[in-house]
């Protein structure tokens, strides 16, 4: 698992992909921080973090699109799958590599705290809650992306599919579908990825919300493992 994690993490930096991800992510999030916190002169970073979730729709596919599809295309999956490593460990290694890459980008956001601390008093508990929440969201998104990369050997298809799925989830949350039907509304809220996050923005870090994101991540890691295992039987 560690070998796969190391290789894929290094893979982000030997191609432009890792740099493009960091650049795209930070340009938008930093601008948001400037507009929200510096221009607005507020010390609460929840707004920036809530917006981060939206940016992940477009940047997560960059991280996940080639994790498996490229292996299939280059036939390097033959090396992975004939090595004495279980499929789940390979999947987990790739997932953690993507999460590690996300962490690299997130390290830059620690600067926000430095800036806020220079002018005021950051609320440590609130900051911590925001970081925990965004990590749970990222884990869920990355595992969905990883899953979609395991079903095709074309990176582009995998990326577009991932983005489409995220956008669809976003539209469900904010289009007002189900506003006249209580059952449907409840159901949609139950599977909501985005609206759920607004609780956290209000300062309520509910265990149920975090569990939801972690479960999504776990389910898609499991599904990815199954998809790869099933390939042997085709």
């Amino acid at each position: 698992m560690l070998a796969v994690l190391k290789r894929d993490l290094r893979g982000y930096f030997t191609s432009p992909l890792g740099y493009v991800f960091i650049a795209a992510f930070l340009v938008v999030v930093n601008t948001m921080f400037y507009m929200n916190n510096i221009m607005g002169a507020i010390s609460d970073i929840s707004g920036v973090f809530a917006f981060m979730q939206f940016i992940l729709i477009f940047t997560v596919p960059l991280l996940t699109m080639r994790l498996f599809s490229e292996e299939f295309k280059q036939k390097t999956d033959q090396l992975l799958l004939t090595s004495p490593t279980s499929v789940f460990q390979i999947v987990l290694g790739k997932f953690l590599a993507a999460l590690a890459m996300f962490t690299v980008a997130m390290l830059f956001t620690l600067l926000y705290l430095v800036i806020i601390a220079a002018f005021g008093q950051p609320n440590i508990k609130q900051v911590l809650a925001n970081y925990i929440a965004i990590y749970c969201v990222a884990a869920a998104f990355l595992s969905i992306g990883l899953f979609l990369s395991s079903i095709t050997e074309n990176q582009l298809i995998s990326a577009v599919l991932t983005m489409a799925v995220f956008l669809a989830l976003y539209i469900i949350d904010y289009s007002g579908i189900g506003q006249y039907n209580a059952v449907l509304a409840n159901f949609l809220y139950a599977i909501s990825m985005f609206r759920r996050y607004s609780n956290i923005g209000r300062g309520v870090l509910a265990v149920s919300d975090l569990l939801y994101y972690i479960s999504v991540a776990a389910i898609f890691l499991f599904l990815t493992t199954r998809v790869i295992e099933k390939k042997r039987w085709s």
Partner: protein, 320 residues
Amino acid sequence: MIEVCQLTKVYGDKRGVDNISFMVKEGEIVGFLGPNGAGKTTTMNIITGYLSATSGQAKVAGIDVLEDPIAAKRHIGYLPEHPPLYLDMKVSEYLDFVYELKGASMPNRRRHISEICELVGIEQVYGRVIKNLSKGYRQRVGLAQALIGNPDVLILDEPTVGLDPRQIVEIRNVIKELGRKRTVILSTHILPEVEAICERVLVINRGKIIADDAPQNLAANVAGEHKLALRVAGPKNSVISVIRGIDGVRAVTPLADREKGASDLLVESLPAIDIRKPMFNALAKAGYPILMMRPQDMSLEDIFISLTEEGAAQTESKGA
């Protein structure tokens, strides 16, 4: 070391591998021979656990590859048809990665990897990015990958594809050398390769094993008789009549003459009789010196064609 029992793999409605069974003993070098699409790669992919069989089982070192895949895979080094290389990595990084992936634990990792590099001849490209390597070097890096961790079973799918003639000879020698301590299965559709490396050949066609023997025996069985190419100094007709008079000669066919004043002939004898001495004596007595005598074994090429044609004819008659 390797046991394959009634293995069948069905793709849709096509049988890629059809009820194949064979065993490979420890230390044997076995060649899979067959045309493209015969089922060689599928069989190898099943043994290495990359594919699962529709029915039947495969065991490596006594371990069923389906029941305990991880333990079975520890014994196997696999070079697939298309070497599984990460093009964006350096050779050194790649081999390190494979070492870790396989969870190999050699007493001295650096030395282990450098020994393998020396063996397959990739020291010069050790620090280069794989993307920039030629096909021949990529193939060798693929072979190096299979050797990492010193597996006792090597499965090589067309290991000499894409190499130039000198490299082919080198790699064959490497494989022979490796085969002293390990069990090796290699597949190829190049016949001289099997003759050069393997102790045993499995001929596969249309998913079935149609022959299983040592390369020499295979030739003897199918040929059934011996042929000698002969060059004798003397007029053709009288030479032929002298040879016809020898016991055990079945046929004499004149060939195109290559040398002035000499006749080239092809002499076929009955299987059990060695006619070389009587022929020498008879021709010497008649005053026609033999300039050249060369046994003409049926090449694997001929055997292969005759075997696959038989197989094809059989399946066709069954279908009709």
